[in-house]
Symmetry: D2
């Protein structure tokens, strides 16, 4: 097979001036850096509150698919059913609104040989409100993860570096509808329901990667047994989707190019060591902060984190969970943004709260995509 | 002079379960670790919102002086006029509510020789609402700083490591009263008035340390010319004080004991290098995080920081200043808490927003107190 | 029995400048309007957020009992165990921080004859974290209500106009302690636990007033069967109490004086008719707002309300329950403050969210105390 | 001129499930109730925070003009430059997200004769950041108001019932750009700049209606002399517009149909009398709340209000201006929503904070559109 037919992953990290500003992507398309039909997925952070009533995600999504629809001459609705657009709201503290565009292109003749970073994607069927946080939800996610691995050309679970899933959640309105239909939702509390959705997503990834059995008695472990976690899973949840969107990233010998990815579990919210370890695995030198030359090699940073539900970090009381004024996820995103930006030297970090079962209890994970030097 | 008459500074870093919980200090007094009349100052972080309507500071203060009044057989009001109690509200993210008790004790026979960390304090006269943020306010703070230096036995400005000032501010009610008396306040906006108070405090420290001239034309530079800053000043502002409370920390040959202090300006909100430099100056090894043995030597960490008013950190847009839901100071405290806690490995950090003129524009300072190894 | 020995209830509605400001009460004591030992209970609204981390209630309470302790030569702790001080945080919108001081005095010779408004109080034993929201909690409240009726000299349930209860709740710390002791709390979510506490309080009042049976199977109805409610119950919940504090208000032939009370259930958050009906029962003319002469007769206004959990008010979607930025109780207090202040013409209204089982589902109650013309 | 050529105003009040949900309008278009080219203006309330970072307005706007663009075969950008879409974010308390669609249609043969409610619109040129809150801004608004009156066929200022203006404001980014170009903005504080924009809008309406002179010395009165106000002006401000959008509503003999409008100034935030007076002028009976039959005649309710900047409502302290957790405008919208919904019996009310110079100081205005009985 000639090298020209090998796929190569391109990752573009782009600024936005507001959630409806896709001008940076538009410019890439205009200048031919990227073709619209090469886009596999989008992962981004918008500047909302990250909660049920965060409409910055829907606004960005609508703008994105209008743009792609125009370029491809297809309906935005169709495209939205094909291309995962996974957004996390909330750019607290030093975090900066941005998005990562993942594109599958033909490898350049001089592209470094593989194994290189590969991408695959899949969308599940719609998950109805009453199924969210149930075992059927876990199974639906797992099936989509397997489909995304196949799409990436990754056979072995051990080659999967990172799985991003966006799950639907339950709003007050959806809870009412389900209840009226005699099918009560697992939790009518919107924030709790988002947590169940994320938990089901994490279990779904673990199931697909062979880390747990397909046993519906495990449904009881969701949001209960936090010793169970999947260190490759990054899950978000939002009102704007009704199906589970999955993006798998991993290394594959059939792909070429300079990109590599390292993912490390974080033991707690101040686990600076994990951040440095992820850098080191990619040859990035943090002494204590990346020099500009190394920062320029970084293509994307993704973090999941969690306000420790036991109320303490390293033995000291935190106040995130008892704060009526600021949602706990907003607190922890701001803090983790600081921990990670201190090392990386940039606020363009995808930090997403709600890390239930996606890392050690009270911690989470950090994943970095970088070019080899 | 025999060693038994040399003073020695003790710093106790204490937990609190809520803003009215002084049980940790009570235990120290009960067990004779500390005598009530040895207490020179308190600096603490309470779990309020840090704004005009943060009453956790007043609650803690009332509880503290009731306790000390009981022990000393004096009125709480008298004690409050003597002992600076400088609190900053807001324990966002991983920050943990705590307070530092600074006590002046007779040096133990085996205490390390000086120069050692010394403390002094002073209170200005009351600053009326209409004077806040004016040059007369600057002069009042400067006079109190000089008095606090004398109290500490520090003659030279260069030996001053850190000056903490708590300034009064203008509430809606105080602004109304002043206006009714024909004396308008500099700003009727509560948050803006707190900023003016902090600016005047920083200029006051700079004036006392000989960094600027006593020229009232400089009043126009407050909150305008951010190239002017005092790298030793840490200022907070709150409704619960009517006078300026000053605490000076510095090294003095007449004091003994193991404590030393290092203060470093921070260039911006992600200046991890400054944190590590402050550690290194005290012999604390951050690779990348302090080991437990080094953390146990740390007696206090004080940080001032600021959401960059130009809207960017390292060239990337932040959203702190445009957020109607979360006050910008709460954002930046959470982020800096992450940056510093990543290195130190603890959330017991005094991080205070509102760093106008207290470090480089968009940055601030970090000060660490530690025992010599 | 001579009229001089009949009791008479005095209700003073007092301003506060901040949660630690009891100067208005101090002035009444100084001027002999009131003696400290005549105070039976305090009900007030402080300007916190009304949530778990609202410390304005603790601050006010500490200040109050310090003041009364000074006047009575007794320990504040003892007094706090005797005198219910029931505070609700949150003065959203036009609501104004204030407190009602209820005093039992000897009737003046010319006091109007009874039946007049009477007051009684009681405190339960401490409710441990694991009992909150359980049937044992309901029983403890009921027992305290009966004790308070006896204290007021009210024999018949039908003469009870209004029962205010402040219940303890579960913080993260208390939940951890209980779990560590093998006794899990009913909900570890702080807001949910406050809701359970309020529900148990309402059931406790209903039990005491003979409206439900003492059947522990009803425990399952808490926060589930909202058709069950007690139209005389007003319950709040907070971290600052560990026992249930009960105040009963009702009409008794053994009391004299001009005060009367009317309580009306509110069907929903915009039930203006209920407000006007309560006024009318007391001879207050709302056309559409009380004239000044009638407003001057009003001694206290107490409202309980609830963001409709079905997400709609009069068929139109509200957004209170899906808002990540503002707690739903803060939303609804602000709205009800507007509804009631429109009729009364004042923001000195005790409006407390969290009306679970204290009125029709999605509604609540309004109670007014006024002098007869 | 035959009656068939007379214009008639239709006002449709429509629900939305989220800020991107225009399905109710789509249904009206699909069923031929309305033609897309008959739409003159949209006024709506979306469920954001109403501040600088409220993107629900931009999201709704994008969705609206995509829809209309599809129907009319024109570009959304062109339509947006023609059709005012004036949104106010923030549905606090009982307020319900909704929008009013104003359409100019040919009068039905049996339409009631005029004078009837008429509508006109205009857009100014773009107002650059440095002009916002200056006299040139006032003049630009006035010119647009005159154009809108002409568009409505209203000659006399006295026939104007209500003028809605949406002004652009200054974000951090825009302030930076202007400063870099040597043209400083009037205030770099985002919330302050929104206030200046609203003030300029109100003065612009007053200028157009002959209530003030075209004297640029009056620029100093903006946000200073609150005795100056325009009782017909309703102004909002947002990041999503760069020009001033004006909609004039008034009565004209050349229009037919059943709609009439009444507008009353509100003296303060609890001026229930003004609400009832506006109802009465339209023959709506509030005893104390509108009966269902009268509510069905109401086509739209628009309110402007303001947290009293002197810190008191009817002599009692409010806490809206000193709250660091909840923006003052959110507080007051929630309260006014309650005051007005109590009378009207619905939460579908356009309540917009920021009433500077749009009614008596500390108050605002209420306007109701209703069909004659």
């Amino acid at each position: 097979m000639s090298s020209s037919t090998s796929p190569q992953l391109a990752v573009h990290r782009l600024d936005m001036a507001h959630p409806g500003d896709l001008s940076a992507l538009q410019a890439l398309l205009d200048h031919g850096v990227l073709a619209a039909d090469e886009i596999v997925a989008i992962i981004g952070k918008t500047e909302g509150n990250g909660g049920v009533n965060d409409f910055t995600r829907g606004y960005f999504t609508q703008t994105l698919f209008n743009l792609l629809g125009d370029r491809l001459g297809r309906s935005p609705q169709q495209l939205q059913a094909e291309i995962p657009c996974i957004l996390s709201g909330g750019t607290e503290g030093v975090l900066s609104p941005h998005y990562l565009v993942f594109a599958r292109q033909a490898a350049a003749a001089d592209a470094p040989a593989g194994p290189a970073l590969a991408i695959g994607r899949a969308l599940s069927a719609d998950t109805p409100a009453q199924d969210i946080g149930r075992w059927s939800h876990v199974q639906a996610v797992a099936q989509a993860v397997r489909a995304a691995m196949a799409d990436a050309g990754i056979d072995r679970a051990q080659d999967v570096a990172f799985v991003q899933v966006k799950c639907p959640c339950v709003t007050s309105a959806r809870a009412q509808s389900a209840a009226a239909a005699g099918q009560p939702v697992r939790s009518a509390d919107p924030n709790r329901s988002m947590a169940y959705a994320r938990a089901a997503g994490a279990f779904g990834v673990a199931l697909a990667l062979g880390q747990i059995a397909d046993d519906d008695r495990l449904e009881a472990a969701l949001l209960e047994d936090f010793a169970l976690f999947c260190p490759q899973a990054s899950i978000s949840s939002g009102v704007e989707v009704s199906a589970n969107e999955v993006v798998v990233l991993g290394h594959s010998a059939t792909w070429r190019g300079p990109l590599r990815m390292a993912c490390e579990p974080m033991e707690d919210a101040v686990d600076l060591g994990a951040v440095v370890r992820a850098c080191t695995r990619l040859g990035l030198q943090a002494h204590p902060q990346l020099p500009a030359s190394d920062l320029s090699r970084v293509a994307g940073v993704l973090v999941k984190c969690e306000p420790d539900r036991r109320g303490r970090v390293r033995g000291k009381r935190h106040t995130m969970l008892d704060d009526t004024d600021i949602n706990a996820q907003r607190h922890v995103r701001a803090a983790l943004g600081g921990v990670v930006a201190g090392v990386l030297g940039t606020g363009q970090i995808f930090v997403s709260g709600g890390a239930e079962h996606q890392g050690p209890d009270g911690g989470g994970l950090i994943a970095i995509i970088a070019s080899i030097a």
